[in-house]
């Protein structure tokens, strides 16, 4: 707008009124708004000059726009303690003064920005975890983890609940999350990002991988259909064969008093996992609690450590 000035015919009229100084406009209270305000103020002044009307002697004060008014309000400024992020200072503040964004450093390596370097798989995993939390909470409103209700509630979720695709989103995100975790580890391995100083964070990552698989595994049972109980049965049958602690495991028969085996199907590893000798209602409740409370809680804590350590270990990896 300011560059239109030379084109407007100003044929030696009376001297132009001085353009309003930025300090005069209320919108310029924040430094970020100063530049646009000055630019808009210049144009009407030129037009009035063109009309050859006696130039008004009072300084032109543009009315602040709605957005400016909002941004100038005490409420807005109580939330965002920096101006519009178009200067280096304000952009840094945008990251530093935001609890979520300050997971990031203010500057990142150029390669850390490149999708062909990071594949964005860690970020997508976290995103999918958030999707799981949100859709999972919505599903919990409708789901009762008992043999009597579980299956019926699953059907009701799809048929009687508005927007009944939450279970679909939840399930596909879960599968996708397993894949993104694998690919994230793949990338971290291929760039050697587990090497010093990031050894510990790689370990946290391995635990998070296990937790992701366990989350998916415990969730697999909850629909309480044939697919669910038999997948969990097959998966948990292995626990029977735990050395010493499983009743079909090696060496467990050595733990006995005379002829009485102390490790049997009623107290072995699999029993502890399932809360019974087979996948039943006790298993359902157990897996529900693990799935909804315990594992997400542990995963959240470890994720906080994981993200924090990324920064402490020098950000997204790059050549030393």
């Amino acid at each position: 707008m300011a560059e239109e000035n030379p084109q407007s015919p100003s044929s030696g009229g009376p001297p132009k009124p001085p353009a309003p100084t930025p300090a005069a406009t209320p919108a310029a209270a924040t430094p970020a708004a100063a530049a646009p305000a000055a630019a808009t103020a210049a144009k009407p002044a030129a037009k009035k000059d063109d009309a050859r009307i006696a130039p008004p002697q009072k300084t032109y004060v543009p009315r602040p726009g709605l957005m400016d008014q909002i941004k100038d309000s005490q409420i807005w400024r109580s939330v965002f303690r920096h101006g519009y992020p178009n200067t280096v200072r304000n952009r840094s503040l945008a990251v530093l003064s935001n609890v979520f964004l300050h997971l990031h450093p203010v500057n990142v390596r150029t390669s850390g920005l490149r999708l062909s370097f990071t594949w964005c798989m860690g970020g997508l995993t976290f995103f999918l975890f958030l999707v799981e939390v949100i859709t999972g909470v919505l599903l919990m409103f409708y789901y009762r983890p008992t043999g009597e209700y579980a299956y019926r509630d699953i059907i009701a979720m799809a048929e009687h609940v508005p927007m009944g695709i939450m279970r679909e989103i939840h399930r596909w995100s879960a599968h996708a999350m397993v894949i993104t975790v694998w690919l994230h580890m793949f990338r971290v391995f291929m760039t050697g990002s587990y090497k010093p100083p990031r050894e510990f964070n790689w370990n946290i990552g391995v635990i998070l991988l296990v937790l992701t698989l366990l989350l998916s595994f415990t969730g697999y049972l909850l629909p309480w259909d044939q697919l669910a109980i038999w997948a969990i049965t097959v998966g948990s049958n292995m626990a029977r064969a735990t050395p010493i602690a499983g009743y079909e495991g090696p060496l467990s028969s050595l733990i006995s008093i005379d002829d009485v085996n102390l490790v049997h199907s009623g107290d072995d590893m699999r029993f502890a996992l399932l809360g019974g000798r087979f996948v039943g209602e006790a298993t359902l409740l157990r897996f529900y609690v693990l799935h909804c409370i315990f594992i997400p809680l542990v995963a959240t804590i470890l994720m906080a450590v994981h993200f924090w350590r990324i920064r402490k270990d020098g950000g997204i990896s790059g050549p030393l």
Binding site: P85, R91, S92, V95, L101, H104, V106, N107, V108, R109, T110, S111, G112, S116, F117, C120, G123, F127, L128, Y151, A158, I165, E168, R171, W172, H175, A176, V178, I179, W182, L183, F186, R187, F189, M190, T191, G192, K195, P196, S216, F217, Q226, L227, I229, W230, A231, T233, V234, G235, N237, R240, A241, T242, E248, G249, P250, L251, V279, G318, P319
Partner: protein, 356 residues
């Protein structure tokens, strides 16, 4: 044509082809990562899928809702293997010319998190949301009949990401395949940063500077983990019998199992006597074999081929790495023994449920 693929997908051939393909890809990576070659392979895979999906049995197996993510994973793993090797080859060429890797050249210039990083994160989130919504709208989450403990489906399979382990059940006893191996995989992954003392290749893609590490990872991840998932998901049907991709799932197909124990081979075939009755003496050759494999091989290698490695890493690191590596390699060895000699167990102590 379909018979040809059915025959090709037999577990032993499938595993052999997969292994050879992965090693060939790593060996001739310059050729395979050339965009033209990679695109040809990609389109070949797509054409195969389009052609194969016209087979009703194949289609029914592939389009099971819970199997769709495996197809995604296959293409994604293929794509990212290509991408990482492509960038590694590019960097290796630069290093050969005496230049710095790409990442090292561009990294001294840092960019601001806001707006650059936040913007691309936001974009990824939007795309992720869109993909999830479309996926959820197009494909219903599977729901079968209500749970019924008295009715076992055939085949019954674990969730898809554990199917590699379930495939291992064909070759190992449950205590190994279901408990020890997963534990070792987790521990092995955790040990990686501590046993890999190679300081090179930290923070950039390269192959030449760490060929052993990358080859081992490709072998463990792609050959042993991903390919076994494919085998178990798509190529095993009722009674865990093997079915080719275009073979109808016949409920009555039972694979004849001939199980031979190592003790039988040792005492009856080699020595020509009957097996001793006590389990310790009977299984002594097998135990010696296993202990020898895990204890003596590292020592032999340390004195011969791996001298430099031991000097570099020190004994504790070398032993940890070698034992993890030998156990990983033991999987294909056991599989091959199973296919060639019908060997079931090397150590077979039924008295203690201890089978190896």
């Amino acid at each position: 044509m379909k018979e040809f693929f059915n025959a090709l997908a037999d577990p032993s051939r499938f595993f052999l082809i997969f292994t050879v393909a992965v090693f060939a890809m790593l060996k001739w990576r310059e050729f395979f990562t050339a965009p033209k070659v990679a695109l040809t392979i990609f389109f070949g895979a797509v054409v195969f899928f389009v052609w194969a999906i016209r087979d009703p049995g194949f289609k029914a197996n592939i389009t099971k809702p819970d199997n769709i993510p495996i197809i995604f994973m296959l293409f994604l793993v293929g794509f990212f293997s290509w991408l990482s090797l492509y960038r590694a080859v590019k960097n290796d060429r630069r290093i050969d010319r005496g230049e710095l890797p790409e990442e090292a050249v561009e990294n001294p210039k840092k960019v601001l998190t806001w707006p650059d990083l936040v913007y691309s994160e936001f974009l990824c989130m939007l795309i992720g949301t869109a993909v999830l919504l479309i996926w959820a709208l197009l494909l219903k989450a599977p729901l079968e009949e209500p749970a019924n403990p008295n009715k076992t489906p055939n085949p019954s399979k674990a969730p898809w990401y554990f199917l590699g382990l379930q495939e291992m059940l064909v070759y190992f006893d449950p205590w190994l395949a279901g408990v020890i191996l997963p534990g070792l995989i987790v521990n092995g992954l955790m040990a990686i940063p501590y046993v890999d003392t190679n300081p090179k290749g930290n923070g950039y893609y390269t192959f030449k500077e760490r060929p052993f590490a990358i080859t081992s990872f490709f072998f463990g991840f792609i050959v042993l983990w991903v390919s076994m998932i494919i085998l178990m998901t798509f190529l095993r049907g009722p009674n865990q019998a093997f079915f080719g991709p275009f073979e109808p799932w016949n409920l009555h197909k039972v694979e004849p199992t001939v199980n031979i124990q190592f003790s039988q081979i040792f005492w009856e075939q080699w020595l020509g006597t009957s097996r001793p009755t006590g389990w310790f003496l009977r299984e002594l050759p097998g135990i010696a074999l296993v202990v020898g494999y895990l204890a003596i091989t590292p020592m032999l290698l340390a004195k011969t081929v791996c001298k430099k490695m031991v000097a570099q890493m020190g004994n504790p690191r070398y032993l940890t790495m070698m034992i993890m590596f030998l156990i990983m390699v033991a999987m294909p060895i056991k599989m091959v023994l199973r296919w060639t000699f019908n060997l079931q167990f090397i150590v077979n102590i039924q008295e203690l449920f201890l089978n190896i």
